[in-house]
Symmetry: C2
C-alpha cells in the first residue's frame, strides 16, 4: 500500500499548529524546540508516558478517545505530584498502511479531542514529532508543569498513623475494558455506558493534586491498580498499609456489576487506568482533605491507614474484609511484559 | 511467542535507574514525575522526537548505536536553539516478540550507550516509560535544557546580507545509510567506516550552539538535509538563500565517494541525519563565528548568503555552481509519509 499523501509539515500545519497557538514559546511548532519561562520560586515537573494501540487502548477507540486518554495518562502524573499543568509535547507514530482518508479522519478526531481536553486542563501543545511506522499507532506524551520549589508531592513520606485516601471511584476503567473486550456483560445500558466512558475518557485529578501540596504526606495516581499503586507509596515510604475493602469507593455502575455477580471486588482493586489519586494524610488533617474534596465536588474517601511495617521488607498493602480477613489479591497490578 | 520474563519495574531498576542517579529530582525513576529547578533569568527549552526501527535506524543497529542516535536526534534540537542540556526522558516501546535473551542483551547495550553519551553531553535521565508493542522498536526522547531568557536562537531572524554557515561536513550520514542499505559501495574500508559511523553515531553540536547565542541571527539543525533545513530558516525569516555548492564542506570519506563517481554532490545536500548546525550571521560577525569554530575544533564554513526574496512566496534556497548555474536539487528533504 502506498504511503498516505499527507506530509509531516502539512500534518503539523493543519492539525497541530492551531493547538499551540496560545503559547508564544511554542513558536508555532515551526522551530527546533519550544521555550517557556518558569516563575521564580517554582520548579519544573516533567513526566513521559507511552501508549500503544491494542495494548493501552483498543483498535476501534476513536481519535477523540485516544486524545483524551493520552492527556489523562500524562497529566495524571502531574496531579500526583501536586503540580500545575503548563503544556505538553507529543510523539506520534502513525501506521504507514493507513490510507489518506483514514489518516485524515483520525487526525481530525484526535486534534479535536486534544483541543477540547487542553482547554479543559488549561494547557497548550508545545511541540512534538510525527513519524510513520510499519507497526501499530503509538503515542508518547511528555507533560510539563510547575510546583512551588520544595513542595512537590512524592511517593515517599507516608508515616505510620496517616490515613489513606482515594479520590473518585475505583475499578470502573477495568470493568469498562472488560465490557469492551467481551469479558463481561453489563446488567444495564446506563452502567455499560458509564463504565466504558471511564475506560475511554479518564480525567486527571489536577485540581485535587494541587490542593494537596503541604497537606498530603505522599501521593500516587491509580494507573496500575489501587493495591499496586498504594504499594508504590509503601515501598517508597518504608511503611505498610491496611485497607478496609468495604470502604473502597465504588460507582453505582460498578456496584450494579458486583451485585449481579458478574465481577468480584478484587477485580476492581487489581485493575488499572482509573487515574484517581491515592494519597496519605496525617490523621489530624483528615477532615481538611475531605473538605478539599467537597469544595471541588470530588469524592475523597478514607479507606484505611498507614502502619509500621513488621520488617523492612514488609512494605505491603493488606486488604481486609469486615471481620479482618485478608482479601488482598495475589495478582498485583498490570504487568506489561 | 511468550512475552519476555522481565517486568517493567525490573527493567527500570536494572537498566535505567543508574542513569538517573546523578539527579536528585529524578527521584530514582520511582515516582510519578521528575522535578528540577531552573536558575533565575533562564527559560526552559524542550523538544520531543521519535524514531522507529527500520524507518529511522536499521534493524541490525545495536542498542549502543540506537542510544547514541536517539540522544543526538534530541539534543541536536537544543543545540539549534543555543540551549544548554539538562536532562531527558525516554519512552520505549519494546517488541513483544523479543525473547528474554534478546531483550536483556539489547537493553544492556542501550543502557551502556546512554551512559556513555549522557556523560559526554553532561545530562542525566529524568524519567520515562517502558511499554510492550506488537510492532517495531519505537523510541521517543524529550530533551530539556535552559537558555538565558530572550536569547534562544530560532529559525526566524535571518536578514538579507547575513552569511550562511554550516558546521562540520554535510552528507556523510546519507552516504553511510546508502552504504548500509547496499545502495552504494565505498571505495575504501576507512571511508566506509567513517561514513557508517556518521550515520550510526551522530553528535549534537551543543557547545557550538551555546556559543552562537547573541551572535547568530537564525539557526536550525541539519536533520532533514541541508537545503531543506536552510529552507526552514528562509521561510521562518521571510528571506531567500544563495549557496555556493562548491563551498559546502565535504569530509575526506565523502570526497572519495564523489571522486569515484559513486554519488553526486546533490545526494549530499538532500540527505538528512547529519545533525550539524546551519546558521546565519551578520557579515561583520563572520570572523567571530569562524573563531568560535576554531576554538571548539569544529569546522565552521561560510557557504553563502541570505538575500532579499524576489517575492513573499520566494523564501527559497538556491544552490549555485562555480559559474552561477542553478544546481538546486528538485527533491528537497526527507518525507516521512
Amino acid at each position: 500500500m502506498t504511503p498516505p499523501a499527507l506530509g509531516e509539515f502539512e500534518i503539523i500545519a493543519r492539525f497541530f499548529a492551531p493547538l499551540a497557538a496560545g503559547e508564544a514559546g511554542a513558536l508555532g511548532l515551526l522551530d527546533d524546540a519550544a521555550v517557556f519561562a518558569v516563575p521564580p520560586g517554582r520548579s519544573v515537573v516533567v513526566s513521559t508516558d507511552a501508549i500503544v494501540e491494542s495494548v493501552h487502548f483498543l483498535n476501534d477507540d476513536s481519535g477523540d478517545d485516544v486524545a483524551a486518554k493520552v492527556l489523562a495518562v500524562g497529566f495524571s502524573d502531574l496531579a500526583a505530584m501536586g503540580s500545575d499543568a503548563l503544556g505538553y509535547t507529543l510523539a506520534l507514530a502513525l501506521p504507514k498502511d493507513w490510507g489518506c482518508e483514514k489518516l485524515e479522519q483520525w487526525l481530525n478526531g484526535f486534534a479535536t479531542g486534544l483541543g477540547t481536553e487542553q482547554q479543559r486542563i488549561g494547557v497548550t501543545l508545545l511541540g512534538g514529532d510525527t513519524v510513520a511506522t510499519p507497526g501499530p499507532l503509538t503515542l508518547s506524551v511528555t507533560v510539563l508543569g510547575t510546583v512551588e520549589t520544595g513542595r512537590a508531592l512524592t511517593r515517599a513520606g507516608a508515616k505510620p498513623g496517616d490515613r489513606v485516601f482515594v479520590s473518585g471511584s475505583i475499578g470502573d476503567a477495568a470493568l469498562g475494558l472488560a465490557l469492551l473486550t467481551g469479558k463481561l456483560t453489563a446488567p444495564g445500558r446506563a452502567a455499560h455506558a458509564a463504565l466504558v466512558n471511564r475506560y475511554r475518557r479518564p480525567t486527571a485529578r489536577l485540581a485535587l493534586g494541587r490542593r494537596l501540596t503541604g497537606l498530603a504526606t505522599a501521593a500516587c495516581d491509580v494507573s496500575d491498580g489501587l493495591v499496586a499503586d498504594l504499594g508504590h507509596i509503601c515501598r517508597a515510604s518504608g511503611v505498610a498499609a491496611r485497607i478496609d475493602a468495604a470502604r473502597i469507593p465504588v460507582s453505582a455502575a460498578a456496584a450494579e456489576v458486583l451485585a449481579a455477580g458478574a465481577a468480584k471486588p478484587s477485580d476492581l482493586v487489581e485493575g488499572g487506568d482509573d487515574y484517581e489519586l491515592v494519597f496519605t494524610v496525617p490523621p489530624a488533617q483528615a477532615a481538611t482533605a475531605q473538605g478539599i474534596g467537597a469544595a471541588l465536588g470530588i469524592a475523597v474517601t478514607d479507606i484505611g491507614r498507614i502502619e509500621q511495617p513488621a520488617s523492612q521488607e514488609d512494605s505491603v498493602v493488606r486488604l481486609l474484609d469486615a471481620v479482618g480477613g485478608d482479601v488482598t489479591p495475589s495478582r498485583i497490578g498490570y504487568r506489561h511484559f
